[in-house]
């Protein structure tokens, strides 16, 4: 008990987060188009996907490997930490034509993602102002059987999209930086 107590006291969440921010940006706000911002995502979503990576349920080129080195307590602390930081939309240029198409295509997504990608649901990530390239790469993963993503509703939604529509939805959500 004493040991558990002292281990608890030692958990240094900002130090832990520093190992993430190399890739996800200072304070979890990404400066790289292919890397997601993670500050301000819902705690439930953050915790869920990290545990899915850790338990091998969710494939990822990097995150499965990295997250296996963190304890469940640390993952919970990181989820709480990032969820409390402000969501900062990425400054990026988007293509107005694709944004227009994306707006139309995402009408069928709004039930879960809201009109702009801003959702109040604890298990749904924010998409408004996320990096377009990241959103596109992620949508492609949901569509691709090679990844076998665990969220079957998203897989179903993505499978209906053409390559151009995938670009368009990414550009649309990326442009909704409010």
């Amino acid at each position: 008990l004493l040991l558990a107590g002292s281990a608890q006291a030692e958990l240094n969440v900002s130090g832990l987060a520093n190992t993430c921010n190399n890739c996800h940006g200072t304070g979890g706000v990404s400066a790289g188009e292919s890397m997601p911002s993670i500050a301000g995502l819902p705690e439930g979503y953050l915790k869920n996907i990290m545990m899915e990576w850790k338990t091998g349920k969710r494939p990822s080129a990097n995150m499965t490997r990295l997250i296996s080195g963190y304890t469940d307590e640390e993952i919970a602390a990181l989820a709480a930490h990032y969820s409390k930081l402000p969501w900062v939309p990425a400054k990026q240029k988007t293509d107005p034509k694709l944004v227009k198409l994306g707006k139309k295509v995402t009408e069928k997504c709004s039930g879960c993602h809201g009109d702009t990608g801003k959702s109040d649901d604890a298990d749904t990530p924010s998409l408004h102002g996320q990096w377009s390239q990241y959103l596109q790469l992620e949508a492609l993963k949901y569509r691709d059987d090679a990844f076998n993503m665990p969220n079957k509703q998203m897989v179903k939604a993505a499978k209906k999209l053409s390559d151009e529509e995938i670009k368009a939805v990414a550009e649309f959500y990326a442009s909704q930086s409010k």
């Binding site: 030692e10 958990l11 240094n12 900002s14 130090g15 832990l16 520093n18 190992t19 921010n21 190399n22 890739c23 996800h24 940006g25 200072t26 990404s30 400066a31 790289g32 188009e33 292919s34 890397m35 091998g56 080129a61 990097n62 490997r65 990295l66 997250i67 296996s68 080195g69 963190y70 990096w131 390239q133 990241y134 790469l137 492609l140 993963k141 691709d144 090679a146 990844f147």
Partner: protein, 435 residues
């Protein structure tokens, strides 16, 4: 303290990934600490992804960044070169004639090269025989030489005994040069890696990629008549001991290889100022001699508690990573780990200044290597400190998958993602340290 005086003075020597991050994170941790970063260059050029510049995939401008971001955070940036450290007086002196007092000193001068060791080779030759292992003009010089090389030529990379910065770097370079040959109708050309070591970083993944992309079959000089990459290990003649600069011929005990383009990467040591300050080991093996030993909890120098050594200059840990005690003895020298070391040091400095306990440190590394079109691979390392010593965390570390868990080949989509992530990672490490 005097009214209006800073709470403490932190001086940082060297504004690379390590030093810039240390300066920024001390300031983020406590704005009342006075931070001065000393760096001679006004523009820093990132080594990470500079191999892409050599083969024309990337503009060198995308690797350049200045110090305005740090200045905006209230950090004093002094463009000067540190020539001396007086550890007793706790001052540093510069070429420009300044003397600065410190309460805590961060030493992060990166690496310097040993130009001895290869008979017939010396520093004056790098304008003809580039190392391209400090990014900038050297990178562009090697690019020019590659472009001028005729088909059927030999591009020879001489790899020193470890430790050297970016353990996968030479092999990433070899891959991209072969890719260049493929795209420029120079398929009769070869990249020959003369390696002083008997193994290398991400070897399985590199060999897999080379087989898929560049006709690789096996190790050894001349082993791949239809392939574009040859790797000669130390035990089989890879250790270059002699150079005939005029004919660009390198020799080992077993073989002579005449190069059309010769890229000698000299052995490394900690940046000179670290040695001048008496922070480097003077005996022991390759991983001890010439490098700065540090305290695991704080990154403080093992010989001076007021000095923190972060980045390529330090030797952090003595854990045999690959089961071979001579293979990779310490944390790899990478920008990624340099930054986590700097963050640990910054947190320790802020805690010390404020009389708080030392926060628990965590160290992480990732090195992406882009080895072909839409083809990236990576390695990750995670370290913690247990009972005062570094501990390598096997879970949380490792390389990209060689196969899927069911042994089927890894879909190309995974390799493409890692190539994309490498580019996003670069933007983030540059921003996390300099902005």
């Amino acid at each position: 303290a005097r009214a209006g005086a800073a709470k403490a003075r932190v001086v940082v020597i060297g504004g690379g990934y390590a030093g810039a991050t240390a300066a920024k994170y001390v300031k983020l941790g406590d704005a009342a600490i006075d931070v001065t970063l000393i760096e001679p260059n006004k523009i820093y050029t990132s080594c990470p992804l500079s191999n892409e510049v050599i083969v024309g995939h990337r503009d060198i401008k995308t690797l350049e960044i200045g110090y305005d971001g740090l200045k905006k955070r209230g950090i004093n940036v002094l463009h000067d070169f540190v020539t001396g450290v007086d550890r007793a007086k706790k001052t540093v002196t510069t070429q420009g004639g300044k003397t600065l007092a410190y309460d805590a000193l961060v030493v992060s001068p990166g690496i310097d090269f040993h130009y001895t060791g290869i008979e017939g080779y010396n520093e004056s030759m790098i304008e003809d025989i580039p190392h391209a292992y400090k990014a900038g003009p050297q990178t562009l010089l090697l690019k020019k030489q590659l472009e001028a090389m005729p088909d059927g030529g030999k591009f020879v990379i001489v790899v020193p005994k470890g430790p050297f910065r970016c353990p996968p770097g030479p092999y990433e370079r070899a891959s991209l040069v072969a890719n260049y040959f493929k795209h420029h109708g120079k398929t009769k050309s070869k990249v020959i890696i003369m390696d002083a070591n008997d193994s290398h970083s991400k070897k399985g993944l590199f060999n897999q990629a080379w087989a898929k992309l560049y006709g690789w079959e096996k190790e050894g000089l001349g082993a791949n008549p239809n392939g574009m990459i040859e790797w000669v290990k130390g035990a089989e003649g890879g250790t270059v001991t002699k150079l005939d600069a005029k004919s660009k011929t390198v020799s080992s005990d077993f073989v002579d290889v005449k190069a059309d383009v010769l890229n000698i990467i000299p052995p490394h040591k900690a940046g000179k100022i670290a040695a001048d300050a008496g922070l480097t080991g003077t005996q022991g093996n390759n991983f001890e001699k010439g490098w700065c030993k540090v305290e695991p909890m704080t990154m403080a120098s093992a010989v001076d508690p007021n000095i923190y050594v972060v980045g390529d200059s330090c030797v952090a840990g003595e854990m045999p990573l690959y089961g071979n005690p001579n293979a990779a003895f310490d944390m790899p020298k990478s920008a990624h780990i340099a930054m986590t070391q700097a963050k640990v040091a910054a947190a320790a400095i802020v805690a010390k200044v404020n009389g708080q306990p030392v926060p628990n440190p965590y160290y992480a590394n990732t090195c992406y290597s882009v080895v072909g079109d839409d083809y990236g691979i990576s390695v990750a390392h995670l370290y913690r400190v247990e009972n005062g010593t570094f501990k390598y965390i096997k879970e949380g570390s490792g390389v990209s998958m060689m196969t899927l868990p069911d042994k089927s080949p890894v879909p190309a989509a995974y390799r493409k993602l890692e190539a994309e992530y490498a580019a996003g990672w670069l933007r983030n490490v540059m921003a996390d340290s300099f902005s």
